[in-house]
Subunit: 229 residues, 2 copies
DNA sequence: GATCCGTCAAGAGCAGCGCTCTCGGTTTTG
DNA sequence: CAAAACCGAGAGCGCTGCTCTTGACGGATC
């Protein structure tokens, strides 16, 4: 590890500051991030930004990547902080952590999970960090099966689907019965839907106790999966 | 009903044509709809559009409203086309219709259920049509309970939540046990999540048989609700 | 120590955007 | 028939992302 040159360090600091300012703008003004406004906030001219990011989309990509990492960190930390044997407690901890992060960073969550920008195509770098939250949920089930605390039912998926899910399980290197993995995916889908409805929609505008609603709905999915109480 | 003047008729036609062209642009270019491009396609100057829509947001609102109505029509038609006594068949028909509409109109679906545009606030006119799809799902349960084909379990929600959901049930004038209504909301959330993942995400890029996956996942929610096979 | 090359911020400029206002011309209305 | 309402075109404002050129600075090299 050779010491980076002064210029390299200054440059890295600039990149970090640009991302920080951009994230601040994202939080206040929403998804339509203006490069010129970011530059203005930094006392620079808009063209100077292009020394650090070749385009606005690349800046957004950097923010998306960091967002996935931040969400993944929060989710995995919540899982690690729970009693390993308490599958249901871990499930709820992970779900709550994802929701808490989304509520704390709504604009970034919208960037990650909202409707994609038309011209924009997420690069492949984003796919691995994006899988961390659902993989954490799957990890709970894997631990449960391995530890004998979660007993998969003998349910078998109908055939065109069973091999699809089995291949998916092999791809992500998870040794779970396809039927159980499908239920885990339903739980992940539900979690995403719950958070998105709370952030974007006004569906549960009339539900004052949102924490309790969230816990109950994620608990329903824990039931569906078969996590023991 | 007095006959509308020639100008009024031509004006209504213009409004329709603007919306049609805008919808076409929406389908190709995505959510960042350009008023000037729409005007160009119509052989007009951009300022002329403002004779018909006071702002770009109002045009989008009109498109959103029509989108909700179209989705609601599709969903209700699917429900109406199924055997009234076959609760599970109706459930699947409604879910499939929503998915089919979304796949056929991805940009409009993104407009309805994607991340909201920062400055934009949906007017109250949109709330009623937006509730048609979930209300259709709830209607299946209501018919089932009324017809004696769906027997709600004795499950009771814990207290802060029970009264919330009960008030919500009263608000939408649905006489269902709160616990059952909560499960219906979970099903609706799941449906939204499934469609969004398929449209936006690349989660199930590796699931070739998407129809079967969708049916199975919505079937899981039918199980959770207790719809009889 | 002078030189040279890579890097940097700044500025001008292009095309596009939403939106406003004004100006003639047409249509409807009283 | 005159007044009022409506319409499209055009100019223009401030904004956007982005490109290109210019001049200055800094670290490494001879």
């Amino acid at each position: 590890m050779v010491a980076p040159s002064l210029r390299a360090r200054v440059r890295a600091g600039m990149i970090d500051e640009i991302k920080a300012v951009a994230r601040r703008h994202l939080a206040t003004d929403g998804a339509n991030l203006s490069l010129r406004a970011v530059a203005r906030d930094m006392g620079m001219v808009s063209s100077a930004i292009y020394r650090y990011f070749p385009s606005r989309d690349d800046l957004l990509t950097a923010l998306i990547l960091e967002g996935y990492e931040a969400l993944g960190d929060a989710v995995e930390a919540a899982d690690a902080g729970a009693d390993r044997a308490d599958l249901r407690g871990r499930w709820h901890a992970v779900c709550r952590a994802a929701r808490a992060w989304a509520l704390a960073h709504p604009a970034e969550y919208a960037l990650l999970y909202g409707s994609p920008v038309p011209g924009y195509a997420a690069p492949d770098d984003t796919v691995a960090p994006a899988q961390r939250p659902p993989m954490t949920l799957v990890g709970i089930l894997r631990d449960g099966v391995a530890g004998g605390r979660l007993h998969p039912s003998g349910e078998e998926l109908p055939e065109p689907l069973r091999s699809d899910v089995a291949e998916l399980a092999a791809l992500i290197e998870v040794d779970l019965p396809p039927a159980l993995l499908a239920r885990a995916m339903a739980g992940w889908t539900q979690l995403f839907g719950l958070i998105s409805f709370e952030l974007f929609g006004r569906i549960n505008r009339m539900l004052p106790h949102r924490d309790e609603y969230f816990d109950h709905q994620t608990g329903l999915m824990a039931d569906l999966i078969g996590l023991p109480a």
